[in-house]
Structure formats: C-alpha cells, structure tokens
Symmetry: C3
Subunit: 321 residues, 3 copies
C-alpha cells in the first residue's frame, strides 16, 4: 500500500473536486460538502424526473478494467437519473483493448465526448495514474482500484452512519471486521472516519487478513471479535472473498463464521442501538448471519440507496451540473 495521497490530483487550488480518487487527502470540508449534497439529493435519487436536466447532454462512461455489475449499476442509475448519457465499456471482456494502453482507451473515449469516467482497475493507484492521460476538463471517479481505495463506498458508508447517528462522529465507536488487508472498502472507510473526527476505530480480523500495523495507526486492532464489541455504535462487516480459503489465509468458511461471523448473539454485545453495515455482496453464513443481515439493526439496503445519492453528488460536483 502506502500510495501517495493524491490530494494534489483530486483537489483544485480553489478547493473544488477535479477527480475523486481517494478518501485519503480529501479535506473534511470537501467530505462534508459531498455528504450534505448527497443527503439533499437522496429523496430524488431512486427515481423521478426532477433532476434530469442537471447533466443533460453530458456523457459518463463506466470504464471497467475489472468486471462489476453491481457498482456499475449504481453509477449507471446515478448518471442517468441526472440526465447524462451513460456508456458501459467493459475492457475486461472487450476485444478492443488488445494491445492498446488504458491511457489510449481513455483518450479515445474522451475524444468521443465522454466528460466523466468511472474507472475500476485491478491495480492499486491505476485510476490516479490514468488522470495523466485526461484533458483538463475531464473528470475521473475511482470505482475501486485493487486493494487501495473505493471512495464512493467510503462516502456512502459515512452518509449511512450520519443518518443513523448524527453528524458528530467524535464520540462514535466503529468496529470494522474481516479481511481488512485486501479491502479497499476498509481503507476508504478508515480514512473517512478519521477525517470526520471519529476517535474510536476498532479493527478486528485474523492476523492473516490484517494489514501492516503502520496502516492502522490510531486504530484499536485485535483478533478476538467477542472482546471488541463492547460499546460499539456501528459494525462494518467486510466480505470474505472465497479465494482467501484457497490461498490458505482462512482455514474454512465454517471456522471463519465461528470466529468472525456476526450473529445475533454477538450483535447483542454491542450497544443496543448499534447499526450493521456491509458493502455487499454478502456471503450469508460466512461473515454475517441471516438474522443480522435482515434484522432491524441492518442498514445494508439503506447503504445501497445512499450509494446512488452519493454518486450523484460526486458527479454533480465534478461536472458542475
């Protein structure tokens, strides 16, 4: 990890957003402005025609070097409900890219009139690297680069927490559970929580799935989930990729669930009003029990809805709609 914070790439001297590459380096004022905008957009985010003129005539391209129908759909809805044209360009299944550099693919689509690229990439930092190919007025949104960042997920998680617990994060206790080592979601969430003033960030997982200590400075780190639940306001459960078992990082899914799965018994150890988040897609019975996923404390579906609003807010800020 240890990517350089690309704040110089994503923030203009006047403080407005030029690209959205990482939560790292985003000033608190920018983060809060985006969250406020998303909250305002939220009632129109799921349908209707009220916002269709905002980005009418603009073009957004989902440029995916790694496949994802889920994230791509959320961006698709956000853009099209703002009236933008949306093109999906899946390089991972396309013949086009053969021998062509990602920069040339971007330049070509830009020359066709794309104003904003939503980019998912396999390598850490690949989206920031692509900004060098873009014209000054073209905006890039990082929709996930390797294990590095997934900033709109970080934003939607913060929006969901704010709706549940209010805007003051200073007295909030947040516990992140699971495969933090490989998770761009966790990295974005931790950065966002820090920026918003959260002082009690707890990180829990098996040693094989935690990152180097340097990345978690200021966080309380541990391996015993039951011991870390006391007083927790929010639990952020991470998806366990099944390949971790193949890689020998996890002995078995059953064992993982026994040690790190969130079930009702464990949830009862957190604060009574604690909320549960998960970025999806869920492995039910692996990192989360059905009763919790579908229970009253779960905000998982609300996260998804907030995700559309957050992406709208980001696009409007980037494209000045």
């Amino acid at each position: 990890m240890n990517m350089p914070a690309p704040s110089d790439l994503q923030i203009r001297p006047d403080g407005t957003l030029r690209h959205l590459l990482s939560i790292e380096g985003l000033p608190r004022s920018t983060l809060e402005r985006l969250l406020d905008a998303a909250q305002t957009l939220r009632p129109q985010a799921l349908g209707g025609t009220a916002l269709r003129q905002r980005l009418a005539g603009r073009t957004v391209c989902n440029l995916f070097f790694e496949p994802s129908t889920r994230t791509r759909s959320a961006f698709h809805f956000a853009a099209s409900r703002l009236g933008a044209d949306v093109l999906g360009f899946d390089v991972s299944t396309s013949s086009t890219g053969k021998g062509e550099t990602p920069a040339d693919t971007l330049r070509t689509l830009e020359a066709m009139g794309v104003d904003c690229f939503v980019v998912r990439a396999r390598e850490d930092g690949a989206v920031a690297a692509l900004t060098a190919a873009a014209k000054p007025q073209t905006a890039l949104i990082n929709a996930g680069d390797g294990r590095h960042q997934h900033p709109t997920q970080g934003l939607l998680d913060m929006l969901t927490l704010r709706q549940a617990r209010g805007e003051d994060f200073s007295n909030l206790s947040v516990l992140i559970v699971g495969d933090v080592r490989h998770s761009r979601v966790a990295r974005s969430d931790i950065a966002a929580l820090r920026t918003l003033g959260c002082r009690d960030i707890r990180v829990c997982g098996p040693a094989s799935l935690l990152p180097d200590a340097g990345e978690l400075q200021g966080c309380t780190v541990g391996h015993d989930l039951d011991a870390m639940l006391d007083g927790v306001d929010a639990l952020m459960m991470l998806r366990l990729q099944r390949e971790r078992m193949v890689e020998g990082l996890v002995p078995s899914l059953e064992r993982y669930f026994a040690d790190y799965g969130l079930d009702e018994r464990r949830l009862a150890r957190a604060k009574p009003e604690a909320v549960v988040l998960h970025p999806g897609p869920m492995n039910r019975g692996v990192e989360i029990a059905d009763a919790v996923a579908d229970g009253a404390q779960s905000l998982i579906r609300e996260q998804v809805s907030n995700g559309v609003a957050v992406r709208m807010a980001v696009m409007l800020e980037l494209l000045g709609g």
Copy 2:
C-alpha cells in the same frame, strides 16, 4: 411441473395485477384487459415519442439468470418507448452474483430504485419464489422460468391470434406441434387458450417430447402430424432445441423435419386461411420450412411486433403508468 397456480401472488384482491408470473390462474377478464391494452398500444409500440411520459422516471431491470438477448431486447424496447430507464443485469455472465443469493441481488437493485424486474430463470417457479424478496410496490414479470411459463409469450400469441381470427376463440382449432414437454411457451399458450375459451386444442409431437397426460387434459394429443391438420385454424410450431438430439429424444433433425416439420404440403391440409406462429428463433428446415416461415400464412414477424405491445401493456398495468 404441477406448479401451484400463483394467482394469489400475481393478482391483488381488487383484481389488478401485482406481478405477472404465469398465465395459469389469470382470470379471463385480466387476460382480455391486457390484450385490449396491447391492441390499443400497438400503433405506438414500434417507435415514436407519444408514450414517453407514461413511465418517465421509473426504472425497469432485465434481471436475467439465463441469457437471452432476444427476449431482453423486446422488454428493453417496451420499457424505453414508455420512457422508463432500463438496466440490463445479466447474472449469468456477471461476477457479482458470486456467492450472493438471487434474492439479495434483487433486493440490492431494488434499493437502487428499480420498480419492475423482468426476470428469466433456469428453474421452474424461480420467478414466483423471488417475489417473496420484493417490496410491496415492486413488480416482477416472468420472462421465462425453466419449462414452466413464459406468460408474455402466451399473451403475444393470443394477441396475434385475435388479430387474425377475432376475439371469439370458442370455435377455433389450434394445433401445437413439437417439443411440448420442455416448452414454457406451449404451457403458457395452452393455459391462455383454455382461459379464452378455445375448445379444440390439439397437441402433436413424438412421445419423447410430450408431457405427462395429466398436463394435457382436454387437449387432443397425437403423434401423427398429418392426421391432425384437418380443420386447423392456427398452427403453433415450437422450436426444437438441438440438445434434444444429443439427449436421444429425437433420432435426427432430418427425421424430425420429415415427421413434424411444417412444409407447404402439410400446411395445405389445414384450413385455407390457417395461420402459422412460431416463438423464434426458428430452426429453418427442422421444425419449419422456409416457404412456410416466409409465406403468406406466417404471422411470425407480427408476433414479434405484438410482443413489444404486450410487454408495454403489462408494464403499464403493473406500474400504473
């Protein structure tokens, strides 16, 4: 087969449609209301902007667990000509579904603002089962589930028959030919014909491709096509999947065409004004001869056009547009 008629799932107490899952269990009045609506929509179904406000701001998702570009295109056109946003979500080729339940995939897309899901599934009854995951205001349309039902195909076939032969089906003789055993089209057509009062439904195919007798109660069943053509008003030819040969259910395509293929000679045995339907895609020279497929009695292209109108009618009824 023997799926429970899901009339309780698809019809509200006030008689309006909540989902469209099966022709089985649809009251005649509902069927006829949908056909009337489709007929009214038909002149605008293939283009123009007259209907673009009807579902403006609503979102339709083609959620396909089994690939189909053809049916998906028809639903795409129906929805977009009514002004809806349409998202194609192909689970069969997507990485998203990995480990995620179909219900969670639906709930996620629903949380993004999808109002109506067009669902194709491999298993009989899978679309009806998915309704349990949907919110009260979300509508599902079965676009084909296994061998069970394909209700919009049933509706478009009935609309095509009505246009050719009038609304009174009581004196109509309809002959369905081919692989009825594996055909959701045949099941939907038979149910629709029964509901609309057709009293002479004939079913013809090799024993290996006919369903259990219980399914065909009230139909005239036989294996000799030439012997069943007399007095027929409409021939509904079914597609023969080539895999039936691999499975040993059909000796050869040549043999099948000799026994069950519709050529001009055979068509001449039906009524002079008999019409020919086929759900597509056609295997020319297998279940139908070129001269019949492209002949004056063929309504095959009209079926396709009616398919757009029927799907518009269903969406408008479901979404109250």
Copy 3:
C-alpha cells in the same frame, strides 16, 4: 476481394442514400454531401442537447456479429446524441443466434421497431447480403465487413484530411502504410481518396501484406518506406494485427517497426506540415512511435471525434431526421 460495387443497393434512383455499405460506388457528390453535413454537425457531436429531437422516437441497433466495443461506442454516441434509442445486440456473445440465420435475427429486431442497423460482420460482403432481408424503409450501415469495407472510417478519415488540408484533394500526396491486404480501412480510404480526386496515393508495406496489384491500380506501390516519404501530405498508418506474426507474414514486431514503424526521424522526411492518421487501436512501438502518436502532427484524436460527427451525418441522411 473484387466485391461488386453495391451502388445499386446503397443509392436510390433520386441519389439519396438507402444504405451505407461501401465507399466504392458512392458518387463524389454523395461523399461530399456527407462530409459537409458531418462538418456542420461537428460542434454538436460531442455533447449537448441541441440535436436530441432529430431522431427522437427512432431506434438504432448495433448488430455486431464480430465484437467491437470501440466502433460500437462511436455509433452509440452518434445515435443517442441525435435522440435515438440505441440497442446493442452482440451476436458473437449471444445465445440467441444459435441456429438462427443472420437474416432472421435482423428481421426479428426490425419487427421490434429497429429503423437502422449498424452491422459488423466477419465475412466480406455480409452486410450487403443482409440488405435483402430488410424492409424498404430499414437502413443498414456497414460498420466493417471482413477485409472489405469500413465506410464510416473512410468518411471520418476524409473529414480529418479536409479539415487539415482543405477540400481540394487533387494536389494531395497520401501515403498508406502497413497491412493493406487485410485492411477494410485501407480499402475504404483508397476508394474515398480516388473519388475525391486525389491523384497521388502511395501504398507501402511488406509484400506479404499488400493486396494483389489489381486492387491498387493507379496507386504507387512500394516496400521501402523511407523511399516513399518525400513530399507526403498525409500518412495513414494501419494497425498491425498481432496474428500476422503467428501467420508468418511478419518476422517480428521489432523488425516490423524497424521497417514500417513511423518514428520522428521518418516523419521528418515527409512535408513539414504532413499529418498523421491512425484508425486505432494503436500498437505503440509496432506501427507508430509514441513521439509521433502524441506529437503535434498527429490527428488521431481528431479522427475519433470526427467519427462521431460522420456517423451522425450518415444516420440523418439514412433516416431522414
């Protein structure tokens, strides 16, 4: 090669375009009318809503029998910025086509209301052949058929040349370099240059990648690139498919670049104001050096932008928008 010029198929008796199949057989007046229209559309081609009513309510289908995300995207943007509905129908990855003829696939989509098909096919002449299946009012655009033609690429290249060098091509020296034998781009460009009055067309490549002499009548043909650069106004570099190496037509990519790659040293031998074109996607370091691709004389990105305008002009002429 030696396809019959399909002028009878693509031009109506009144001189208007019915299909766009080939640059061969297009009268100069038609070519120039399309280029003039594209030039007029160019300022609106990359975004905005000014043209959205032109094809509102019309439907364009990208019917691709050979995959191409790049060309498909250009047509997608052209159609959608004119307000048309666009459907992508990728037969190469679809299950639909199984056993269905291309003509039936076209007829089916036409029956759903498609007004214009953009067709890419593997076989020379396949798009012209498909016109026989279409209704009189349905238009086809050849988006590349085998090694035969790619007429919108020819048009966009001519538009790019005109912008750089003016409308009089009679004193222009154009050099086409590379795999002419397998290139539909080269065939379209040569035909367009001839029709527009260009008298000095030079073609350079290894003997294994040049077509039969009969195809290049009137062109200056050679194998020594350095010897052919003198006085050249425009260089049209062709993409080298890597499979040519597997086929033994090219010894190595390094060797190819040494002999036929365009670098700064070579470019300096052409006229000082010479421009460089490439249809994309580029193999940097194979047929073109970075310094040239990204240099001041490169019009490669301008070609891409012109490609949207040209496709708009063609669709408007075909659909009478």
